[in-house]
């Protein structure tokens, strides 16, 4: 086994998300510990140009797998590319971000390579030559440290948790194209259309999340939350109660049976704080709670709380935030 770290850097339409830079940076830290190189791999079409940016985040080599069939993500296509590179490079570790794509890909890759895998990690270390991963379980109600035995070890990094440093402009790496072989019919399942319902970042990747709960009293009142989110430059989330009531789509749900988020700022408006909800946002850096019930459990995890009617407090807060901007 080698000492190198292979990082899959996710791009869509030639653009990298911050989580891809975070994964490269996390991979580079592991590579330094192992005494190996950080090799970034990008798959897609027309990606050589944008991929050069990965050098600034710590990539020592940048490999571009270009193929018309890789223009859109498919499990079969991307696993084929990664498995081939894993075979060619024998990395000690394979890292990628725990995004929708990364979660799908890491599971399929682990199955293909028969490799141990730790998904959605919040810390990665090397101990005695093995990867030791810290990962929240039970939606964050507990934290497990797991050792991955054997190589390659696969780990995915939870977005917003690992730091992507300011890119080092002095680092320049030539992008190498790697051969891609995708036999006809190899993509058994493939994407035919992509529908975007929001241009905003996903809840799991947003730096600021403003969530509404039952205190919202009805779907017609969510503009109150949306205006605060807009003032803060954040995205809107929701508690399970309002999703189950049909006030907001399932994709907005924060909590154990929704999305687990870790933003810089989480604002809970009219959310009492059921244990499943607290699990899903408990690692946010700063938590603000606005609730009329001063005994609501949400205040126990809140950094800052305001006891009051959200319909009075939230618009005023939006106004105050705009004044500071």
């Amino acid at each position: 086994m080698g000492a190198d770290v292979l990082v899959f850097a996710e791009q869509r339409d030639g653009a990298f998300k911050r989580s891809a830079f975070e994964a490269v940076a996390a991979g580079a830290v592991l590579a330094r510990r192992l005494g190996g190189s950080t090799i970034a791999l990008v798959a897609g079409k027309g990606i050589c140009g944008p991929s050069a940016a990965l050098a600034g985040y710590g990539a020592d080599r940048i490999l571009a797998a270009e193929h018309p069939l890789l223009e859109r993500y498919s499990t079969d296509g991307y696993v084929a590319v990664l498995a081939a590179q894993a075979k060619a490079l024998s990395p000690a570790v394979i890292v990628m971000a725990a995004t929708a794509m990364g979660k799908d890909l890491c599971a399929a890759l682990a199955a293909r390579l028969k490799a141990p895998c730790a998904p959605d990690c919040t810390a990665l270390e090397i101990e005695g030559g093995s990867v030791v991963a810290t990962r929240p379980v039970y939606a964050g109600k507990a934290v497990a440290r797991v050792k991955l035995v054997g190589a390659p070890a696969i780990a995915t990094t939870r977005p917003n948790v690992f730091t992507a440093p300011a890119p080092d402009a002095s680092r320049a790496v030539k992008v190498e194209t790697v051969p891609v072989e995708i036999p006809k019919g190899a993509l058994r399942a493939s994407v035919t259309e992509i529908h975007r319902t929001s241009a905003k970042p996903d809840l799991t990747e947003a730096a600021i999340v403003v969530s509404g709960g039952r205190g919202q009293k009805g779907p017609e009142n969510f503009p109150v939350i949306e205006k605060l989110a807009a003032a803060l430059g954040g995205v809107v989330g929701a508690s399970r109660a309002v999703v189950d009531a049909g006030w907001r789509p399932h994709s907005d749900q924060v909590g154990q049976t929704g999305k687990v988020v870790s933003p810089q700022l989480y604002v809970a408006c009219g959310i009492s704080g059921a244990i499943q909800h607290l699990a899903g946002m408990g690692t946010s850096r700063v938590i603000v709670a606005i609730n009329s019930d001063e005994n609501a459990p949400i205040f126990q995890v809140a950094t800052y709380g305001i006891v009051g009617d959200l319909f009075e407090v939230v618009p005023r807060l939006a106004e105050e935030v705009r004044k500071l901007a």
């Binding site: 939606a139 399932h250 938590i287």
Partner: protein, 259 residues
Amino acid sequence: MPVAIRFGSMRAVVCLKRVPKTDTRIRIRSDGRGIDTEGVQYAIGPYDEIAIEEALRQKEKAGAGEVVVVCLGPGDARTQLRDALAMGADRAVLLVDESGDRDALSTGAALAEAVRALEPDLVLFGKQAVDDDGGLVPAAVCESLGIPCIGVVTKLELKDRQATAHRQIEGGHEVWQAPLPLGITCQKGLNEPRYASLPNIMKAKKKPLEEKPAPQAECRVETLSLSLPPPRPKGKIVGKGAAAASDLARLLHEEAKIL
């Protein structure tokens, strides 16, 4: 995997897991490597329930077929399999493993062996189990079976042995197509799982539930420790009512350095 062509019939297999109910307050076992199970109540994983519901609906749409639920877990997981039978599944297979020391690959291999024998058109899973939150087992099963898998599905339509599925991604969804046999992992929004009716609960007691030992396995993901997350630093109530909003904005700006 042999492709069994059956028209107007749907043989669906659902892999489910017995997990602590989501309102469980987690306590750590004294050896620091697992949860204290004293007093913990278990249920079918909430996403697995969606998978069972989808299997039942697809069978109902096809007009004929069979829904088989498969679980790898302790003998006590019988309860969850009976619950699945009460929802409407036709029969159940329990791969008994009391140890709990398994990684996704070994779980996947054991499930795949059981699923293969059932020659399914569709293999359904919850998108993740809500205990270890891994989401790795479906791919492990499907890889062993040699079938494609579409993950995090919120809509599924089958026509002429072709599946069209909506897969949730950040800020939208993708439309995927694949032929059967196929694996699907189910996300909230796909359907609303039914409640078991009393007559069906009674009927479920008589439905076949086969038990056999899960094959031995090596575990290459070793849990070193399990702990509670560090407590959050104590926060403060900034004030009451709208008048406190300006103080809060100032704290976010000056103290938390967010604005």
